[in-house]
C-alpha cells in the first residue's frame, strides 16, 4: 500500500533530554492516524519535525515518498491545524481559506470559486465575508481545516485541535472530524493526550511515552491486547495489581501481592517465577454479584465491601475493597440497572476470567 508518511529513525535531543528517540513510523494513504501520549512525551516535537518547524538531529522524514530533508515548512505538501487553530483575526473567513492559494499565486477568480466550494463542503456556505470572531468554536475548527484542505495536502497534521473546546462541543467535533476525514480521504495525523479521542477517531494509534512508541496498532488492539504495561495503564481505565509471580503456566501466571491477594491473568512476554510483575484488569471485565454462586464458574472469585459508588450514567462504576487484603478494585456497573440499589458498605462478590486480564513483567525503569 502507498505510504503517505514515512518517519525513519528520527531523533531529536534538547541538551541531555531526548525528546524523540529514534522513531520510525509509516502511515498509509487515506488513513486516520493518531499519536497518543501524556504531555511531555515528545508527540508535539515529532509533529513539528514532520511539519518542518524543527529539524531532526538524526533520521529522515519522507512524505509521499519524497525526502523532506532541507525542505522548509512553506514548501512541504503538509498542512497543520494548530492547537488554538491560529485563524488570522485580521482577515475574513474567505481570506483565511484563500490565504494559501493566494500565496501559491492562484488567480483571484479561481481562489474565490475554490474557497466557495470548500466552504460548502465543510458546511459553511456563504461564510466568506464573516469575521473570524463571529464564528462559534466548531465553525472555527471547520474553517481551520478548510484552510488547510483547500491546498490539497498529502498529509494533514492536527495538534490537539479539540483541546480548547468544552466537553459537549468536543464530543460533537470528534464525530465531525471523523466524517470530514472520510469525505476528503486525506491522510490525517492527529496528536492528542486524550485516549478517547484517539480511540474514537483513528484507524491506527501509536501510543508514545518518553520519546518512544510503546505500541502501534488499531484502537481494538491497544485496548484488548496492550503490549506494554504503559499502554495497559494509559489506554482506557484499568485496575493495576502489582506483586510477584508465584506460579507460571504456559499461558497464565498467578500473581501474589505483598498483602497476599492472589490473582491469575494471561501472560504477556516471558515471566519466570519470583519476578516482580503487574496485572491489569479492566473494570468491565469484572463481574459483580450479591451472591458468589451467581458468578460464572470459570471466574476466580473474591468478596469485598462497597467503598464508594461512582455514578456516571453509562460509565458508572463502584469501588470495592477486597475483604482479606483491603486491595481496592474498580468494577463497572452493568447497564441493566441490576445494581441500581447498591449501597456503600454492602458486601458483594466479584470475579473475573483470567484470560481477560493481562500480566507483564514490571519493567525496571518504572516503579
Amino acid at each position: 500500500m502507498e505510504q503517505d508518511l514515512e518517519v525513519d529513525r528520527v531523533t531529536k535531543r534538547y541538551g541531555p533530554l531526548t525528546a524523540v528517540d529514534s522513531l520510525s513510523l509509516s502511515i498509509a494513504h487515506g488513513s486516520f492516524f493518531s499519536i497518543l501520549g501524556p504531555s511531555g512525551c515528545g508527540k508535539t516535537t515529532l509533529l513539528r519535525i514532520v511539519a518542518g518547524f524543527l529539524a531532526p538531529d538524526d533520521g529522515d522524514v519522507r512524505i509521499g515518498g519524497r525526502s523532506m530533508r532541507g525542505v522548509a515548512p512553506n514548501r512541504r505538501p503538509v498542512n497543520m491545524v494548530f492547537q488554538h487553530l491560529a485563524l488570522f483575526p485580521m482577515m475574513t473567513v474567505g481570506e483565511n481559506v484563500g490565504y494559501g492559494l493566494a500565496r501559491r499565486g492562484v488567480g483571484r477568480v479561481e481562489i474565490a470559486s475554490r474557497v466557495d466550494a470548500m466552504l460548502k463542503r465543510v458546511g459553511l456556505p456563504r461564510a466568506q465575508d464573516k469575521r473570524v470572531d463571529e464564528l462559534s468554536g466548531g465553525q472555527r475548527q471547520r474553517v481551520a481545516i478548510a484552510r488547510s484542505l483547500v491546498l490539497e495536502p498529502t498529509l494533514l497534521l492536527l495538534d490537539e485541535p479539540l483541546g480548547a473546546l468544552d466537553l459537549k462541543l468536543r464530543e460533537h467535533m470528534k464525530i465531525e472530524l471523523k466524517q470530514l476525514q472520510a469525505d476528503f480521504g486525506t491522510t490525517f495525523v492527529y496528536i492528542t493526550h486524550d485516549q478517547s479521542e484517539a480511540l474514537v477517531l483513528s484507524d491506527r494509534v501509536a501510543v508514545m511515552n518518553a520519546g518512544r512508541f510503546e505500541q502501534v496498532g488499531t484502537p481494538q488492539e491497544l485496548y484488548y491486547q496492550p503490549s506494554t504495561p504503559f499502554v495497559a495503564g494509559f489506554v482506557g481505565a484499568n485496575n493495576r495489581v502489582a506483586g510477584r509471580a508465584v506460579r507460571v503456566d504456559d499461558e497464565e501466571v498467578e500473581l501474589s501481592t505483598a498483602d497476599g491477594l492472589a490473582v491469575r491473568a494471561r501472560m504477556r512476554g516471558a515471566i519466570a517465577v519470583g519476578e516482580p510483575i503487574e496485572a491489569f484488569v479492566r473494570p468491565e471485565v469484572v463481574d459483580l454479584a450479591r451472591d458468589a454462586g451467581e458468578l460464572p464458574r470459570a471466574a476466580q472469585r473474591f468478596s469485598g465491601r462497597v467503598e464508594s459508588l461512582l455514578f456516571d450514567g453509562a460509565n458508572s462504576a463502584v469501588l470495592v475493597r477486597e475483604e482479606r487484603t483491603h486491595a481496592e478494585i474498580r468494577i463497572a456497573l452493568p447497564q441493566t440497572g441490576r445494581f441500581a440499589d447498591l449501597k456503600v458498605g454492602e458486601t458483594v462478590a466479584f470475579g473475573f476470567d483470567a484470560q481477560r486480564a493481562v500480566c507483564f513483567r514490571t519493567s525496571s525503569h518504572d516503579n
Binding site: A51, F53, A72, P73, N74, R75, V78, N79, M80, F82, Q83, H84, A86, L87, F88, P89, M90, Y99, G100, R103, R104, R147, S148, L151
Partner: protein, 279 residues
C-alpha cells in the same frame, strides 16, 4: 468617582485649555496703536505672506515625518527582538537599555552628541586618525544630524508600544502562515504589520508630536540653520516680544500636527480611539 478625575481635570483645564483659549484670543488681534488692539487676522496673513515662515513650517512637518519613519524602521527590529526572541533576564535588560538614555536630561544628552560630532570632537578626530578623512570635518549643523538627534530622543516612545503589540501576537499565527506557504516578507506584510498597526500608529503619533514640538534638539544640533518652527515661535515670544504673532504660530503648529496625525490615521484606515485603547 468624578472626584478621582478632579486633579487631572484641574491640570487639563488650568494648564492646557485656559492658556490655549488665551492664545487663541491673542492670535486674533492686532496692535493698531500703543495699547490699542483690534480683532484681525493679520497675524495669520503675515505667516502666508512671509515665505520664510511657511517654508520653516513645511520643512518642520517634512522632517518630523521623516524622523518618525526612521524611528519606526529602527525601533521595529529592536521591538521584535525584545518581544519575540529575548527571554527572561535578557528581555528586561534590553528594556532597561532602551530606558537608560532617559535618566540623563535631554540637554545633557544633546550636548553629548555635540561632543561627539563637532569639528574638534571625538568622531571627526577618529576619522582623521583612521586615515579616512584628511582634516576633521564638521558633523554638526546638518539636517542629518538633526534627524539622528530626533530619532535618538524618540526611540523609546516607539519601542514601548511596539513591544506591547508584538508580545500579544500569537506565534502560531506566524507558523500557520508559514505552513500555508507564505514567506518572510508576506508574513510581515499580511500578519505582523496588520496585527501591530495600533501600536505602530500609537508610537508614530507620540514620536511625531514630540518631534514636531521639539525645540532643544534641532536648535543645538542644527544651529542657526535648523529652521525649526518652534524656534520661530520662541523668537516671536521672547526675542521680538510679539506675543500676537507667536500665538498665531503656536496655533498653526497645533493645527498642523493634528492634521498630519488625522491624515496618517485616515491613510492607514484606523480610528484614534482604537489606537489609544489597544496600545
Amino acid at each position: 468617582m468624578l472626584l478621582l478625575l478632579a486633579p487631572a481635570m484641574v491640570w487639563l483645564v488650568g494648564l492646557i485649555v485656559l492658556p490655549h483659549v488665551d492664545l487663541a484670543v491673542l492670535s486674533l488681534r492686532a496692535r493698531v496703536a500703543p495699547r490699542v488692539y483690534e480683532v484681525s487676522l493679520s497675524q495669520y496673513r503675515t505667516f502666508i505672506d512671509e515665505p520664510l515662515y511657511w517654508h520653516t513650517f513645511v520643512r518642520t512637518a517634512a522632517m518630523s515625518i521623516l524622523a518618525t519613519v526612521c524611528t519606526l524602521l529602527i525601533a521595529f527590529p529592536s521591538a521584535w527582538y525584545i518581544a519575540k526572541i529575548a527571554r527572561g533576564r535578557a528581555k528586561s535588560l534590553l528594556f532597561v537599555l532602551c530606558l537608560i538614555p532617559f535618566w540623563v536630561s535631554e540637554t545633557v544628552r544633546t550636548l553629548g552628541w555635540m561632543i561627539l560630532l563637532r569639528e574638534s570632537g571625538v568622531l571627526p578626530r577618529l576619522l582623521v586618525d583612521l586615515g579616512i578623512t584628511a582634516a576633521p570635518i564638521e558633523m554638526l549643523y546638518h539636517d542629518a544630524t538633526i534627524l539622528v538627534g530626533l530619532v535618538y530622543t524618540s526611540l523609546l516612545f516607539m519601542v514601548v508600544p511596539l513591544v506591547g503589540v508584538l508580545e500579544s501576537l500569537d506565534d502560531s499565527l506566524i507558523e500557520a502562515a508559514y505552513d500555508l506557504g507564505a514567506n518572510g516578507w508576506s508574513i510581515l506584510r499580511q500578519i505582523i504589520v496588520p496585527h501591530a498597526a495600533p501600536g505602530i500608529a500609537a508610537g508614530s503619533i507620540v514620536v511625531f508630536m514630540l518631534t514636531v514640538g521639539n525645540y532643544l534638539t534641532p536648535t543645538l544640533l542644527g544651529g542657526k540653520n535648523s529652521l525649526w518652527f518652534t524656534e520661530q515661535i520662541y523668537t516671536q515670544f521672547i526675542t521680538r516680544f510679539n506675543w500676537e504673532q507667536g500665538a498665531a504660530f503656536g496655533f498653526l503648529l497645533l493645527v498642523l500636527s493634528t492634521a498630519i496625525v488625522w491624515a496618517g490615521l485616515a491613510l492607514t484606515g484606523q480610528r484614534f480611539g482604537d489606537v489609544m485603547r489597544r496600545s
